[in-house]
Symmetry: D2
Subunit: 403 residues, 4 copies
């Protein structure tokens, strides 16, 4: 099913845990499930207050009998139904991801689980064990990698347009929490600055993992070691809110990554530059429908979403024409659309080989947590170069051992 046709096709039954009143990311998931019309939201636990959840879910046209008081009840009930959900979205704060995902994985449901996956590598590996044992689809919404022009970037790298890669500079430096919002009752700021919920390296998990995933996605390279300087800029804040990290990637490629929630005055601040022997590319989230490619002589070429010359990887994620920007919700929809392909194959029992450039999985989620952990350890060790405690090869070994 090509999302560009918008001509529907079968819908997937989906449920949601979290994403109740006031939860921005829950709304984003629902917009994204809806836009291409490939999902039907049919069950949920919309927050911890059962009454509020009922009211909220009813507004979403969910059958009241399928709005549940808690995840366990939901999982049990849906497992009973002929028309039960096929997949659940977990859109709750970080520390609850493992226990909630466990409930659904143990009952054989596919899962879309928010990032960072967990607040420790051990928990991430436990989730990896649960997900791979269950044999279901497990997707992690690093949705920035689903922008058409990010896909084009990844394609150009794989096709050798930049030559051998040499350097990466990536930043996800937002100014959203440059003031002590957590002391004003701001819900997002509150949990993201509570170490027990967000994890102590907070911004590294929240924004750093996006920058890190984007780097891996576009370059196809893995992390070998990090040297990090994590700090807390806002006085009395109990978590890390700024991280400068040096990266050593596969094959000696050097990188610099910056994750921040205190880059005062910046909007979302996600931007990546990848350099190779023959050229470089740049993509900025504030202008997502363009991709800049630079040649060795500094000629700068801007490609635009919707051009006929783009690869199928970008073209299949384009809904409108050239010059009609598609934004964050469309990228999130792209993510869900790729997940839908996998879920439909699973429903049909068909053999499914994901495209080379598709959605992030449990592996990506675990590696994100390993990145956060290594950065925190390096920073504590005066910036000493530190290896992540788990690699993609390790995960593949575990998966093979399990299969």
């Amino acid at each position: 099913m090509d999302s560009r046709t918008t001509a529907g096709g079968p819908r997937i039954r989906i449920g949601m845990v979290g994403g109740g009143p006031g939860a921005d990311i829950g709304a984003t998931h629902r917009f994204a499930q809806r836009l291409d019309d490939r999902y039907e939201l049919v069950a949920g636990v919309f927050g911890q207050d059962p009454e509020a959840s009922k009211t909220f879910g009813a507004g979403l046209h969910v059958d009241p009998s399928r709005i549940y008081p808690d995840a366990e009840t939901m999982a049990d009930a849906e497992a009973e139904r002929e028309d039960g959900i096929e997949v659940v979205t977990i859109a709750t704060p970080n520390s609850s991801h493992l226990p909630l995902a466990r409930i659904f994985l143990e009952r054989g449901f596919s899962v879309v689980c928010e990032k960072p996956l967990t607040t420790s590598v051990a928990d991430a590996l436990e989730l990896h064990r649960l997900a791979t044992s269950a044999g279901v689809v497990f997707a992690v919404p690093h949705a920035y990698s689903a922008y058409a022009m990010v896909r084009e970037a990844a394609r150009l790298v794989r096709d050798g347009a930049l030559g051998k890669l040499t350097l990466v500079q990536v930043e996800h430096a937002s100014g959203w929490a440059s003031e002590a919002l957590e002391r004003t009752g701001h819900k997002q700021a509150l949990w993201r600055t509570t170490p027990e919920i967000a994890g102590f390296p907070s911004v590294v998990g929240d924004l750093g993992t996006h920058a890190f995933h984007l780097t891996r996605y576009i370059t196809g390279l893995e992390l070998e070691e990090v040297s990090a300087d994590l700090s807390t800029v806002v006085p009395e804040r109990g978590v890390i809110d700024n991280a400068f990290v040096h990266l050593h990637l596969t094959g000696g490629v050097r990188g610099a990554l910056w994750a921040s929630m205190v880059a005062t005055g910046q909007e979302h601040g996600l931007r990546i530059r990848v350099f190779g022997e023959k050229g470089s590319l740049e993509w900025r989230h504030e202008d997502p429908q363009h991709l800049v490619v630079r040649s060795a002589d500094a000629t700068s070429t801007t490609l635009a979403q919707g051009q006929a010359r783009l690869s199928e990887d970008a073209a299949r994620l384009t809904r409108v024409g050239l010059g009609h920007s598609e934004g964050f919700l469309e990228a999130f929809t792209d993510f869900y659309s790729d997940v839908a392909d996998a879920l439909l194959a699973r429903r049909d029992g068909a053999p499914f080989t994901p495209r080379e450039l598709s959605f992030p999985t449990i592996d990506d989620g675990v590696l994100g947590v390993a990145f956060v952990d290594a950065a925190a350890r390096s920073s504590s060790a005066s910036g000493a170069w530190t290896k992540p405690s788990v690699s993609l090869a390790d995960l593949h070994s575990r998966e093979e051992a399990r299969a």
Copy 2:
């Protein structure tokens, strides 16, 4: 209903005529009906081939019994049903708008009708008569005026941020048809270069009316006269593909408008600058989530969608947070959301006063056609200043006479 909550609420039953296989704009309408979950597409005629329409509609989850062979059959059948459509979208080439809209208006349906409304002023006035007599909601999707930052621009002007207005420079200059696509079988290019379907001043109706409406929407000014230079750039093309137009607006404000489908190399090319005694503003469709405001000393200030400081007119049309761009589909959804407010009020029989900044109506559609007509007449008369044959005041008189 605040679209930002995404918490649903009642859905409106909508039908569609046109927008079948390969029709980009039909897909756009459906994306926009879906995103905020305020519409349910329940009936339609998806193109002129009944079989293809059936297949296509089924893919959209429309009940096969409500996929009709033609508009008249559809209007009759839906008028019979308890759960019939409340509104129909007409997404067909220009020359069919009047006959199709007539069918639905005469049966009391509300209508969303594509632009340009008609290919002659006489037809536009006939449609105006039909729409105002029917007393229904009649909306014209100049959706660019529904971008949050366009609304902010209109609000700033009304609040006097620029002082007394002085000048406007607006362009909708795309390069999409800088080659003779119509000779390659390109469907869009084919009908848009056929004078009987698109109207002879083609690009003035297609893109010029958007630029013209955007000008009126942001400035609140009306057209007094035009001096135009219309031309055909691509050899052997049977319609106008480039238009340079000078404008005299209310109160002596001067303007320059450029509509083109042959601005080789430009993307969508919609951009407006409005100048006043105290400052100016600029909005560009290629970067729709920003608005630039310039002061008399040339300090340039960029506002961003999602900022707390923006007006309610912009804020209510913002779904995600600062730095997460919303694009064309979101603007189109904004348009549909404003229409939904009017339709729900109508359903409830409640008195309804549209917001000051809301969706374009039949009046805007008629004035767009009058602009096209005046530009064509001026160009034929060596650029002589030419008044439009109908004004907003004229339309109001007709409406009052009818009420």
Copy 3:
């Protein structure tokens, strides 16, 4: 002499009339004479107050005996000297250009004369007669055409990179006089809003001629007719301060030109886009070291001054390396450097064929005045298409008749 070497070579003896205390443009001329070290300022009348002129000239290291009370005295005295000036710069308000230039031309001096050349076509033709009869170098500092990347643009057009030209959009829309500065004693604003000095169409002569010359320079096309809307935006101002002009150029190419001194909030506001069948280009004065070239599929390529791939026309005007911007003073120096080549050839009595892309001459100055005149006549005639009263072919005929 390649300006890039900066290795000097012979210097030309130059004088100046005007450009005394407080005259910005005089300072610009001197910066430009100095930067490449190809001129030596040795004589002058620096303003109308002889005492102030003396003091000012002394500060410039001009020999006090060569600071003169008026132009006639200067011309006579310098004509007597062995080491007298070879060329004079006339940097005074518009209406004085003809009488001052006459003085120097009649004594056989070469002239650099500010624009607009004169305030009437008759005066311009008289100046043309004087200059061509004298057989000297006569240069008009439309210095914007001397930016390296403007030269590159002109080269690309001549080399067919855009294919057959189709459209031009050009603007020189500044906000510098959006307030009634002339009522605050602002010297520049005062004379530019006095019709007897600046000419009634003021801004058309001041900024419009730059935009017009840039159009001719890059495209190589001549003006056939104009349709103009000239207006006065600032209340009680006695001259035109905004001009929207439609152009018909050689071969049916259409253009739109905007000249304004009331585009509130804009900086200098000079920008040109040229379109052809195969592509387009854009150059903006606010970012002069780049040139954007767009292909038919909307791929946008940015070239940068200093790249090895640029033509000799751009390369020879580049002093520093890639990424080191050269600005207005460098462009003005480029102009003077091209004039120096002609003056040195003249000094040596060598046959001199100017490069294809070189400095603007008396012809360009006259055609600028003819453009202003035609625009004013068209605007008075309700925008009727109006031919300029003199063309390049006419000037060539006169020159041949004279030779």
Copy 4:
């Protein structure tokens, strides 16, 4: 002396060592000495080949008798003359700075010495000893700090516009040597990749010291320690060509600095962002006449050189008007103009207090070398946080001890 008047005043007699045929930076120095007409180049050693130097110098209008075979001869001869040079520019490769400067300092000449000052901290301290003992003017052309808008940035920080500073991100990442130019005979590339001449950390000294100085200049903060990752990207290159460096600045401010000559496709690549509790600012060398200031709510305000609202620190370095860009040569001229103020005061024996924001001195040069040295030591020590071996306070102590 206000450079804006361009009305001259006394000229300083200057000599040059280096900067002969093919040396770009030599030409830059000469352009900058000339533009404001405050210097007269009267003596020199233009490269190591005496014959070529003679020819080259003659082209520059230098009296042949004052074109010397070597620096020592020049210094001796000029010291003898009544009208001898007052200051000498040393524009040679890094390793020769100390011996050449010593020659002139010991004879009491003021010095403008290229950066990096030396290739070791010991040498830098020796130069510091010589310069402070001589009691002359010693200036180091980190000319980027002389752009008007960089001065405005420094002024805004000092005036508290950003509140307490928190973060810095700065990069000077050019792509000029992303290919192995040194193997093509490229003169610049050759010496900059020879460790004995350029120093092993080459790019850190060449571009890193500019980024480092710009950081200190704008923020007013000093370096406490660095954690660095230096690498060689181009195979077989004998020096460092890429450096990612983390900074700890005064008062806990964190920074990330990137210096590169292998950022393929980037032009000059100098850019700085400074963040504070209340706002941030950004300046980019590719658009030097603008300064972007961002408020905590992400409103982005662009200031432009030439605006009346700017500080005297920027205004006094502005030659032309708003919208007329001034580039690298003007910034370099600003540097020389500030040096001229000091030299004239010295000539007159007048007490001289430099402005708060003026030219970089020997101290800045030494601290640049200490930065290079600390970065190299940190990188060798697995990125361990490393203190520079000399601080500004140390230099002040030495100066006081000496006085």
